[in-house]
Amino acid sequence: MSVLAIRDLTLSFRLWSGPVEVLHGISLSIARGERVALVGESGSGKSVTARIVLGLLQDQSGARIGGRVEFQGRNLSGMSARERRALRGRDISMIFQDPTSSLNPVFRIGGQFREVLARATPGISDTKARATATGLLEEVAIHDPARVLDSYPFQLSGGMNQRVMIAMALANRPSLLLADEPGTALDVTVQAQTLDLMRTLVDDHGTSVLFISHNLGVVREFADRVYVIYRGRIVEEGPTRAVFEHPGHPYTRALMAAQPNLTGGGLPRIPERDPSFLAPLVVHGDRT
């Protein structure tokens, strides 16, 4: 059974100027332990998809959601706000792009960590929380967890904060991790370490990941399977290797060609928009 199954998901916002269609019926699924990437440019609908899975858009007035989102076989749209809230931080967690602004600047890491642990273990004692947090920080290769727990986020580097975020996101052993451009705000060397770390941890715990990114290189290295999204529609899906080695959709091909190459080759001439980008979905075989 899939951990996450999205079928014909539509989203529109009612604005004073009329409705705006954001998602035009997207479908995707993630198996247990699978790392799936949703890749697309800004405004393609990739981040709102994550927000719907997290249950954050359902309660927003003006947002109209259609289709089905099933988490471990349960329909998210049928749940009450309270039930959805209970999933967050326990069964589904999220890592955002900018770690430093995701942490509260006026509380020490230790206190924020305790709050996360209390989601799964209400009334956890301070000593127990600290001991657990110490272990979790060691897991993300932080060698002096005591100092980090006593620090405020602004006292730590971006890379360190991102590790703290990863440790927190995985603290309650969620079955699904949503990662929205993790590492984009970090330097390349730190980004590479962070992604390696994340991969090892989700492998160890069998966590499923929905990985949202515009960076093809990062997706190529991290994901098992890829969905390419363009203006609210999935245009191509398949195993990472297949999609990267034999991109079938005109939009995917344009994306790959536009990516500057580390081995050179010059600057390609690619249209920013093209009617062919709206061609029908391309699906690669060998689905797991």
Binding site: E41, T189, A192, H214, N215, T263, L267, E272
Partner: protein
């Protein structure tokens, strides 16, 4: 040499803290070059850009532009000759001013061309950066990110600048848009013999647009050379680790990374 930096250092002091943002940087840039300044956060690359632009004076060392030493207090002529294109075009343009008004202001401030010909000049500039003249009346908010960056580039061209400091000019753009803006920059440089100081952390972009590369680490220049050499035979270990850390896509790139000794 259009730009020469000699033993340039910059130290910031705030109370107890002393940060050496640039230490003893010597660099010569020839006319018509695209000189890439590469490094991670804290490497000093933005400090270098700001010192060249005259936003703050160096602590020690000297900057020579077109054979003349650049003073700490820049004249209008200096500011005209050395222009900046920033990372985020949304905040680089005045949101209340139309595209034409932003470009016109640059022409007016620097007294470029006869006043009655400036309206036509604004249209020409839009054409130069691949924008339809109808965009002239629009506000920045009515443009896409790529179009805004084109306007920012047009503004730098309006000043008839000789040196353009490009501070991460495409890192806020989508990859398809980035490809076009990079092409535009490359064409403008060759067509007008412009000199670029291209500040970036994106090595894949550098590989395809720069003529030479200077690698910075913690305020020091650790390696400099022609783009080909830096990528085919990097000699400093930091350069190698920087190149190896770039997430890559094609088999050729994977092979290249393997050759450089993989990831540390």
């Amino acid at each position: 040499m259009i730009l020469v930096l000699r033993s340039l250092s910059k130290t910031f002091e705030t109370g107890q803290h002393r940060v050496q943002a640039l230490s003893d940087v010597t660099l010569e840039v020839a006319e018509g070059e695209c000189m890439a300044i590469v490094g991670e956060s804290g490497s000093g690359k933005s400090t270098l850009a700001n010192v060249v632009l005259g936003l703050y004076p160096p602590t020690s060392g000297e900057i020579t532009f077109e054979g003349e030493p650049l003073p700490a207090q820049r004249t209008l002529a200096h500011r005209q000759a050395i222009q900046l294109v920033q990372q985020n075009p949304a905040s680089a343009l005045n949101p209340r001013r139309s595209v034409a008004a932003s470009l016109r202001l640059a022409l007016d401030v620097h007294g470029i061309g006869e006043p009655r010909k400036r309206r036509a000049r604004v249209e020409e500039l839009l054409g130069d950066v691949g924008l339809d003249p109808s965009y002239a009346t629009r506000a920045p908010a009515a443009l896409s990110g790529g179009q805004r960056q084109r306007v920012a580039i047009a503004r730098a061209l309006a000043c008839e600048s000789r040196l353009v400091v490009l501070d991460e000019p495409t890192s806020a753009l989508d990859v398809l848009v980035q490809a076009q803006v990079l092409r535009l920059l490359d064409e403008l440089r060759t067509k007008r013999n412009l000199t670029y100081l291209f500040i970036t952390h994106d090595l894949a972009v550098v590989r395809n647009i720069a003529t030479r590369v200077a690698v910075f680490q913690k305020g020091r220049m650790v390696e400099i050379g022609p783009t080909e050499t830096i990528f085919s035979a990097p000699s400093h270990s930091y350069t190698r680790s920087l190149i190896s850390a770039v997430p890559v896509v094609t088999p050729e790139e994977f092979a290249m990374r393997e050759r450089l000794g993989g990831r540390s």
